[in-house]
Subunit: 195 residues, 2 copies
């Protein structure tokens, strides 16, 4: 199970790290030794809107070999959805089994054509922006349509991370991960289709 | 109001970014133009336990000029609490008005002598490790003893970030930040002393 974390300039970093933390705990707790990941971007490093810089493992790798792509949100997604080079790169993930996004990351999954005929969600302020890319926009916090999994605004990344943990290691081990994080989710709506 | 984010190798990145996100929204939403920050460390970049690398703004700056230091947790805190050079550097924050930590970051505040005579908290698995450094270890999620503010395990960083937002911009603006993050905290215990 190898994940490509898709990073870009003007990312919202909590979209990424809210997901990254529970997932990396699968490794920290020894639940799956085969779990690995790369941070991937169009450049050797990326910066958020305030200049915080993260180094990237792989520059524009072909994404076919990964089992999951994860796309966070942020202001950067608005221009990137119309950036032919970036979207062309993202499309190399066409055959990747799990396609996952938080917040406006779903605009990028959409622009790559991955939401065609699917239900999906996005940050609650951006429902209209997502409509052209998918069959149906839902207001649920997490929407899983056949392992294309989209989530809502920033902190839904934590719920999404734990949801994907359940898929990878099951409910009992995920509960141990949640306890270690001392995370207490509010109730939220999850929609699952074609699973 | 200038914050020094104290980073180090083997950091738990969600400890940092769970706090960083609500705080940076004070700027994103235009609530305080005077709010600024630097990431600070003993080296030009730091890596978490899985090699994820973050570039640092200032290497070992004297911390006197900052208004707040923020110290996250992670495996790196265990050796660092006994590292004379690191603790010597952290002690330059002696006169900084706000001293804030998440998780095992409180071990570093403690080793620098900042918890002497104070109540404090830490990750729920590490209460015993904190006892030598403070007057009283509390099991509350957030403990604010005279603007020395410690919080519990990883996701308490989000609650702590919003708590500090309240101090900086008040309840109403903090509620707007929370809404934007779509964050729904579980109920938790906050202890305030000497405020």
């Amino acid at each position: 199970m190898k994940i490509a974390y898709i990073l870009f300039h003007e990312i919202t970093l909590l979209d990424f790290f809210g997901f990254y933390d529970p997932i990396k705990n699968i490794r920290s707790l020894g639940f799956r030794e085969d779990l690995a990941w790369d941070t991937c971007a169009m450049s050797p490093s990326i910066k958020d809107s305030f200049g915080l810089e993260i180094m990237v493992d792989k520059v524009k790798p072909h994404l076919t070999g990964y089992d999951m792509i994860f796309v966070p949100g942020g202001y950067g997604t608005r221009p990137l959805q119309h950036d032919a080079e970036f979207i062309g790169w993202l499309k190399t993930a066409q055959d990747v089994p799990y396609k996952v996004s938080v917040c406006t990351g779903s605009l990028l999954l959409g622009a790559a054509g991955f939401l065609h005929g699917k239900a999906a969600t996005i940050n609650f302020k951006e429902y209209d922006a997502l409509r052209p890319y998918c069959q149906e926009v839902l207001t649920s916090r997490i929407v899983d349509d056949g392992n294309t999994i989209t989530a809502g605004a920033v902190t839904s990344s934590l719920d999404l991370g734990l949801y994907v943990c359940e898929k990878l290691v099951g409910k009992e081990k995920t509960e141990l991960i949640r306890q270690g994080m001392d995370y207490h989710a509010g109730e939220y709506e999850l929609v699952q289709r074609n699973i």
